[in-house]
Symmetry: C2
Subunit: 157 residues, 2 copies
DNA sequence: TGAGCTAAGTTGGCAAAACCAACTCAGAAC
DNA sequence: GTTCTGAGTTGGTTTTGCCAACTTAGCTCA
């Protein structure tokens, strides 16, 4: 086996580090962006991203290994069996993280012609953004948020 | 110059790709996690992450270059001048993206002892999560969201 | 005055990962 | 039975990351 499922990050007590252990390698989040817009086939990812085939094979197998995507053979009538890579529910939930990055890029690394994608509500097309929400489902301002350590936080390092 | 400010991703028309061009290299998001919890000095990042000093220097200079952090000398009384790396407002806004990843990791890559960090409102300590919000400041369910292309979306590839 | 200490790096050699082109393999079409 | 296409694998080169050692500057203390 040439590829090692990514680093020791996945054994970290920090959820951000564990997420990055699965998602943080080069190309992975772009592969997921394509998957969220409907790509399912090896050649589709390859054409859309220009990624080397060995790297793509490695990333897809990592995503399958950690339950972000599934690899399933399928057959169109009159064609031979092919492999389809589909997002699991866990994978679909990564839309939130990708939209966070998209929203940040729209604001802080703007493109001359403006954004190429907008985030909308299906039902009425109203603008949707990513933000902080309290238990009543109401938005919380960024400055009113804080992260706090739990008892599970490692005391001695 | 040994280091090239990261790839051609920053010239992409996709905001996710541009964000990853600045933030997507190995270690970068973990450096930002430390910065959001108060780290400012080279040696602090190094000790917290165990990152090689040349890689850390490269990542910090990329973050400064793109306006995510500032590098400013400061002097404690009776000590020589040192460098402090501080988040800009753009950098502080990345808390949203990091919390998205943390929330995903909490759910899909759980740690045996439970999460080590919780997301809270400062004023009353109530739980806060990251999610989709409409123009009235109310939460939108994930399944009710969609991304749509604008006129700026590149037609011919 | 100069020897030691610390922070913030830089430099050089080695190992791992990414990139690229060429090749494989299987089934369908011709 | 030759060609085509999708989904990869293989081999060689380049880039990136990792590690240890070194550098530089200003402070402290003898």
């Amino acid at each position: 086996m040439l590829f090692m499922a990514s680093s020791k990050l996945i054994d970290s007590s920090c959820s951000i580090a564990r997420s990055l252990g699965v998602l943080g390698e080069r190309w992975t989040l772009l592969i997921l962006r394509e998957a969220l817009t409907g790509a399912t086939r090896f050649a589709e990812f390859r054409a859309a991203l220009g990624i080397a085939p060995d790297v793509l094979a490695d990333r897809l197998s990592t995503l399958v290994e950690y339950g972000v995507m599934t690899r399933e053979p399928y057959q169109e009538p009159g064609a031979r069996v092919r492999e389809a890579y589909r997002l699991t529910e866990a994978g679909r939930e990564l839309q939130l993280a990708l939209w966070s990055l998209q929203q940040w890029g729209d604001k802080h690394l703007p493109w001359p012609d403006g954004p190429t994608m907008l985030r909308r509500r299906c039902t009425d097309g109203a603008a949707v953004h990513v933000g902080y929400i309290d238990e009543q489902g109401h938005e919380v301002r960024a400055g009113d948020t804080q992260a706090v350590r739990t008892a599970a936080y490692p005391s001695a390092d």
